[in-house]
């Protein structure tokens, strides 16, 4: 493959070029209620080539891998060389030859379709046997991905990736009151990691039933304790996206706002993006520009210390490479993305945190989050009203929103119980999603959060 890729982008006469060719095999099995709704397998093959010249990028994506790519590469190069020069560049990388293989026992292609089907059918049955559950949505997903990368700098990387995961959603209904609850598990691990998760599935059904009796939360400002999943969504949505340097590099005012050395939170607050964690959902050895994945501190002891970069933003900001150029598939060029983003644990126990609430919310789980730089919103699955340190009742439709910097300053307790999550979804940005990412946190307490509701 190396010599073929080298031939395609070998003599373009441009400052830089790279090509990425990818093959992916996926399986999905979906149950809705008692019936299997969808089962399918896919075999994708395609690639993306990029040409960089005098500050401009030209990109082409394609499905056909043959000699005609040479002509495509020449066309892209010809277009890019006609563009006016821009004052930017790329951080150079040395030549390299690297191979990254998955463990054979993790390869989902070695597991029969029958075993995959039986596992998700089993979990779906657990939901359905619970009284009050009227329907379900249970999904099994796996992917094997092989990516070959070659750059004009002589960098050749051949990488394999694996992913398996499942999600279960239970729908409970009482007249017109329909409530649902879901949970998922998914990491860069093999099929065996999905087995023996019956307790997790049983809880899904029970929470959906309990939600039928929950009331909508009262809107207003609350002191909240949020669980590791939702706190991880906050770390990702609120601060992680803001740390992606493609927004910052070309905007002087944003650079000022996100200047290293700025205090953004309490001394206990450290936020990290780490692609090197073994087998987490957002882990990788090399990103889609061929840069090694890394552990990057974004906030250390409450002070902003780092940004996430691709090779161009690192050049523009004169900062070290972090290996965060990622593409959701061969259909797209890489852009600056997170890997596994989390808040580091400290010393406070959950009981102490809840005990500190005179009247507040203990907010659990996530229905997702969105951000527009400093503004964020994220929705929980449910919450408990806590009075004088005791959980009084369950409430629903709890969505938290606010300004990132103000909210970071209002984090005043950080727990000792870090959990990292993967799941079956991912992150969306600039039309590229879902990109596999990991996120996590210990429990944290935040004062004065705006909660939407009734």
């Amino acid at each position: 493959m190396k010599s073929f890729l080298k031939e395609i982008i070998g003599n373009l006469g441009t400052d830089y070029a790279d090509i990425r060719v990818e093959e992916t095999e996926r399986t999905r099995i979906v149950y809705r209620g008692r019936e299997l709704d969808d089962i399918g397998r896919s075999f994708e093959r395609g690639g993306c080539l990029r040409v960089f010249h005098q500050g401009n990028w030209g990109v082409a994506t394609f499905n056909t891998i043959d000699e005609r790519l040479k002509e495509l590469a020449r066309d892209v190069a010809a277009q890019v060389t006609r563009l006016p020069t821009r004052a930017t560049g790329l951080i150079p990388l040395p030549a390299l030859e690297a191979t990254v293989r998955i463990a054979p026992e993790d390869d989902p292609r070695t597991v029969s379709l029958a075993e995959k089907h039986d596992l998700i059918q089993h979990y779906n049955e657990i939901l359905l046997k619970t009284n009050g559950i009227v329907s379900t949505l249970s999904q099994y997903l796996d992917a094997y991905r092989s990516v070959s990368f070659y750059s004009s700098e002589g960098r050749y990387i051949d990488q394999e990736f694996v992913y398996t995961g499942f999600s279960c959603r239970a729908f409970a209904r009482d007249g017109t009151n329909i409530q649902d609850y879901s949970d998922s598990f998914g990491k860069c691990r093999g099929f065996a990691s999905l087995q023996n998760r019956e307790q997790q599935v049983e809880r899904i059904a029970q929470v959906a039933i309990d939600l039928l009796r929950a009331e909508p939360v009262q809107a207003g400002r609350w002191t909240v304790v949020i669980d590791p999943l939702l706190a991880g969504v906050f770390a990702h949505e609120a601060f992680g996206h803001l740390s992606e340097a493609d927004h910052i590099a070309s905007n002087e005012r944003l650079r000022e706002l996100m200047k290293p050395g700025t205090r953004v939170g309490v001394e206990e607050l450290t936020i990290v993006d780490d692609a090197t964690l073994p087998q987490e959902r957002g882990s990788f050895r090399y990103d889609d520009e061929g840069t090694a994945g890394a552990r990057t501190e974004l906030v250390r002891d409450g002070v902003l210390v780092g940004h996430l970069h691709d090779r161009m933003t690192a050049y523009q900001m004169n900062e070290p490479l972090t290996g965060n150029a990622r593409a959701v598939s061969y259909r797209f060029p890489p852009i600056v993305r997170m890997s596994n983003t989390y808040i580091e644990p400290r010393s406070v126990r959950l009981e102490e945190m809840l005990g500190s609430l005179e009247r507040g919310l203990y907010v659990v789980g996530s229905r997702g989050g969105m951000t527009e730089l400093e503004s964020f919103t994220f929705s929980s699955q449910f919450a408990f009203l806590v009075e004088r340190g005791r959980k009084v009742k369950m409430v629903r439709d709890v969505t938290l929103s606010g300004n990132v910097f103000e909210t970071l300053r209002n984090i005043d307790m950080i727990g000792n119980d870090l959990v990292l999550f993967g799941g079956v979804g991912g992150c969306g940005k600039a039309g590229q999603g879902p990109l596999p990412v990991g996120l996590g946190s210990p429990h944290i307490r935040i004062r004065n959060v705006v909660v939407g509701g009734r």
Partner: protein, 441 residues
């Protein structure tokens, strides 16, 4: 780039599939896109995206299997995988459709095919210049996309259907750093081939940029809220989830058994219209070859019916509404196409002028994160203005709107007299008389 003949290969797959099952359908598609992206006022990338793929739906021993590929060398694997999955697949309670007459739609425009990357770049540069001449501190991200899309569906009972569609659109996001960060967004659907009218678009963006400069305080409470077309999809989403035939089949839609019941304000008529010309989801037939039609979802507030494909229709003892959505990599499933809310009689200036104290919302984030089936929405207002005595007085920050859309839409105060084209949404503004707005004040 020239490629292997996609339609020839699709026919070859269909013929080979005859050895694997009783019935087969091959969906093949191809898209040729040019995308020019500007980031922070400067050209960022110029992209050519070329995609083709094949999806095989196989009915074997009365069960449905599915597989897909983009790899013309993997056809044996495609056939074997479809047969393998059929062993576990859903019972085929429907028959694949044969050839049927469909409407001829205006959805292909040669002028769009001919739009070059250079033209897209020039439009982007001219628009950025026009806006920055009046708002020098704005940072604009633009995406200009031209696409030629071709779809063919053939099956073993005689269907041989195809369409070509051209798409041309511009999306704009502007960032202002003004007492915090402010995002402005706008959109133009140019698929009919008319050139970009830079002046009116630049005027809209500059006007909004001027209005969001000041910050206005708003206390938590109930206010009249004018939702502009750009923000309205966030409020419509729970209704569009509830009309999906999958939720009828599984009994999880709150609309089950409510057909012909008046659920919304009688001024509201909402339709799903794949036959709308020059739209991003226009098509003469759906993802399994059934003729498309305009489906009324709500007419004068009354719920009219669900969107169905062949399988859900059969499971519910109804007829398909021609609403199967898919691409080559996924089997058909019911879904929406172009959503139209019929315009009302109200002029924006008049409605705004009569507002004593309220809000205009141009954009929100957080749509889709709440319990959609229950109709709940909780949205963060990312671009909204406070209005006092009919005059916008400043931007509202860190505020949320929450509630149940069935309650919200059951009582509206005004409905705009024109539709805004958002590519696959065609919407007027809606004024709600009183929505709960949560703020820090």
């Amino acid at each position: 780039m020239a490629e292997i003949n996609r339609t020839d290969l699709a026919w070859e797959i269909l013929e080979l599939a005859g050895d694997y099952g009783e019935q087969a359908e091959v969906f093949s598609s191809e898209s040729d896109q040019t995308v020019v992206e500007f980031r922070a006022n400067e050209l960022h990338t110029q992209q050519v995206r070329w995609t083709q793929g094949f999806g095989l739906r196989l009915i074997k021993d009365g069960r449905v299997g599915f597989s897909s590929t983009t790899n013309p060398d993997a056809i044996e694997g495609l056939l074997a995988a479809a047969a393998e999955t059929a062993a576990y697949g859903k019972a085929a309670n429907f028959s694949l459709p044969g050839q049927q007459p469909v409407r001829v739609l205006k959805m292909f425009e040669n002028r769009v095919v001919l739009v070059s990357a250079q033209r897209l770049r020039e439009w982007g540069e001219d628009l950025i210049d026009a806006i920055r001449s009046r708002v020098p501190d704005i940072k604009l991200d633009l995406t200009l996309r031209r696409c030629l899309r071709q779809v063919d569906i053939i099956n073993s009972v005689g269907l041989d259907a195809s369409w070509e569609r051209t798409e041309l659109e511009l999306s704009l996001n502007g960032l202002l750093v003004q007492d915090g960060l402010v995002w402005l967004s706008d959109y133009e659907n140019l698929s009919s081939g008319e050139p970009l009218a830079i002046g009116p678009l630049a005027e809209r963006v500059c006007q909004l940029a001027r209005l969001v400069r000041g910050k206005a305080a708003l206390k938590t409470g109930s206010y009249p809220v004018l939702v502009m077309p750009t923000a309205l999809p966030n409020f419509l989403l729970p209704l569009l989830v509830a009309v999906n035939g999958k939720h009828l089949e599984k009994g999880t839609s709150p609309l089950v058994g409510k057909e012909e019941n008046r659920l919304l304000d009688e001024r509201l008529t909402i339709a799903d219209n794949p036959l709308r010309e020059w739209s991003l989801e226009s098509a003469p037939f759906d993802g399994e070859g059934s003729p498309c039609r305009r489906n009324l979802l709500f007419e004068k507030g009354k719920f009219k019916g669900f969107l169905l494909d062949l399988a859900t229709a059969s499971a519910c003892n109804r007829a398909t509404t021609g609403s199967a959505q898919r691409d080559y990599a996924s089997p058909p499933t019911p879904g929406t196409t172009n959503i139209e809310v019929s315009p009302g009689n109200d002029r924006l200036e008049k409605v705004l002028g009569e507002m004593k104290e309220g809000l205009i919302i141009y954009d929100c984030i957080g749509g889709g994160q709440s319990n959609l089936l229950a109709g709940e929405v909780t949205l963060n207002i990312s671009c909204g203005l406070k209005v006092v005595d009919g005059v916008p007085v400043g931007r509202v920050k860190d505020a949320m709107i929450g509630g149940n859309v069935y309650e919200m839409f059951s009582n509206i105060a005004a409905l705009g007299n024109s539709q805004r084209d958002l590519g696959n949404y065609f919407l007027p503004f809606v004024l709600f008389p009183g929505l709960l707005v949560s703020t820090k004040e």
